[in-house]
């Protein structure tokens, strides 16, 4: 006589069969749902970390900006006078003339050259000077060019002396650069001024600034009629 499968399996195993199947289903279900849940949680955790980092950057940025709010205005004046945004040749010529008066030398010739661009965004304009006076005064004058704003360099100097007076030719190269046009992204960390930059800034603020005169507009006047 042939026995069926239910007859072959013992009643004990039969009793365990259903819960084991349920348990296996539960395990599989758990594995799938936990996998989904963990991936979601991990993404959320990553998002939270990014948000916290951005928040930290913003807190720092706000603190730095609030801290320098009062003093940054004076920094701008010194820095913008040292490296202006437009060709400073005329301002520099005025500075060189004033300096000549102070150092008791005569500027016998002043010649402005064309603008030139360097590899970076820095541009320059050359001014060739003819200077007359005692050699010591001329050297003193040329050394003082370094103390003028806008920043400049002395490229080549030739001094000739005969009799009691000397004559020098010097090329002053003065620099300028276009202003930055865009602000960094709001969430980008702010760059605080380093000690070295503050030191440079204090040196720039000691430069002799060009004298600018603000002309106030003339008030309208009643013109007299020439026919009356």
């Amino acid at each position: 006589m042939k026995k069926t499968l239910t007859e072959i399996v013992s009643p004990n195993i039969k009793a365990l069969g259903v819960p084991i199947v349920i348990l296996l289903v539960l395990i599989v279900l758990s594995a799938i749902s936990y996998k989904i849940a963990f991936s979601k949680l991990s993404a959320q955790r990553e998002e939270l970390t990014t948000a916290k980092n951005v928040e930290k950057v913003l807190i720092n940025k706000e603190a730095v900006l609030s801290q320098i709010q009062g003093e940054v205005g004076s920094y701008v004046d010194a820095a913008a006078l040292a490296v202006p945004s437009q060709n400073p040749a005329l301002a520099m010529i005025s500075q060189l003339k004033n300096l000549a008066l102070n150092k008791s030398v005569i500027l016998s010739s002043i010649k402005g050259g064309s603008e030139s661009t360097t590899q970076s965004s820095l541009m320059s304009a050359d001014i060739t000077l003819g200077i007359e006076g005692p050699s010591v005064a001329i050297i003193d004058y040329l050394k003082a060019v370094n103390t003028l704003a806008p920043l400049s360099t002395l490229d080549r100097v030739k001094i000739n002396q005969s009799g009691g007076s000397a004559r020098a030719e010097a090329m002053v190269r003065t620099y300028f650069a276009a202003l930055p046009t865009k602000l960094p992204a709001m969430t980008e960390p702010i760059k605080e001024l380093t000690a070295e930059e503050k030191d440079l800034l204090s040196k720039l603020s000691q430069l002799t600034a060009p004298m600018f005169i603000n002309l106030t507009p003339q008030t309208p006047v009643v013109r007299e009629s020439p026919f009356d």
Binding site: V54, Q69, V72, V76, L142, S162, L204
Partner: protein, 150 residues
């Protein structure tokens, strides 16, 4: 066993759900805080613009200070002129980056010795080359020297 498994499943699910909710609350709070900070930073935009300008100008100023200039050579020449004998005349000086070519006129050999003695002790130069040496009975000794800066 099934009951225990089911209970474990529910407990873990509840913990994960709680964790999810807490993270969501923190995320919302952080985003809200960010918005407040952004508003505050927006009101400080002018300050930020100024700072960006200052940083930009400083980088340019640094670049300029690294460029060729003969200021050091002028300072050294000034120091030399202050130390040489008074009967010596500097007739010509050509200054370029790193080098200074000079021509001195000296009345007599005694002053020439004094001039050489004053130049030998100079420490600001790496080398001093004698470029030319001549004697003119009416003018005296004419010496051309090349100074190489350190």
């Amino acid at each position: 066993m099934v009951t225990i498994g089911l209970a474990l499943f529910v407990i873990i699910a509840a913990i994960l759900a709680a964790y999810f909710v807490i993270n969501s609350i923190n995320l919302q709070a952080s985003i809200k805080n960010q918005n407040t900070l952004k508003e505050s930073i927006k009101s400080l935009e002018e300050t930020e613009q100024r700072l960006i300008l200052v940083v930009d100008r400083l980088s340019k100023a640094k670049e300029i200070s690294g460029k060729t200039s003969v200021i050091k050579e002028l300072e050294n020449l000034s120091s030399v002129l202050a130390s040489i004998p008074t009967q010596t005349t500097l007739t010509e000086a050509v200054l370029s980056r790193g080098t200074t070519d000079t021509t001195f006129m000296v009345e007599n050999s005694t002053v020439l010795t004094q001039l050489m003695a004053s130049l030998i002790i100079r420490t600001e130069y790496q080398r001093i080359d004698l470029l030319s040496f001549s004697f003119n009975p009416s003018l005296g000794y004419i010496i051309s020297l090349g100074f190489a800066s350190k």
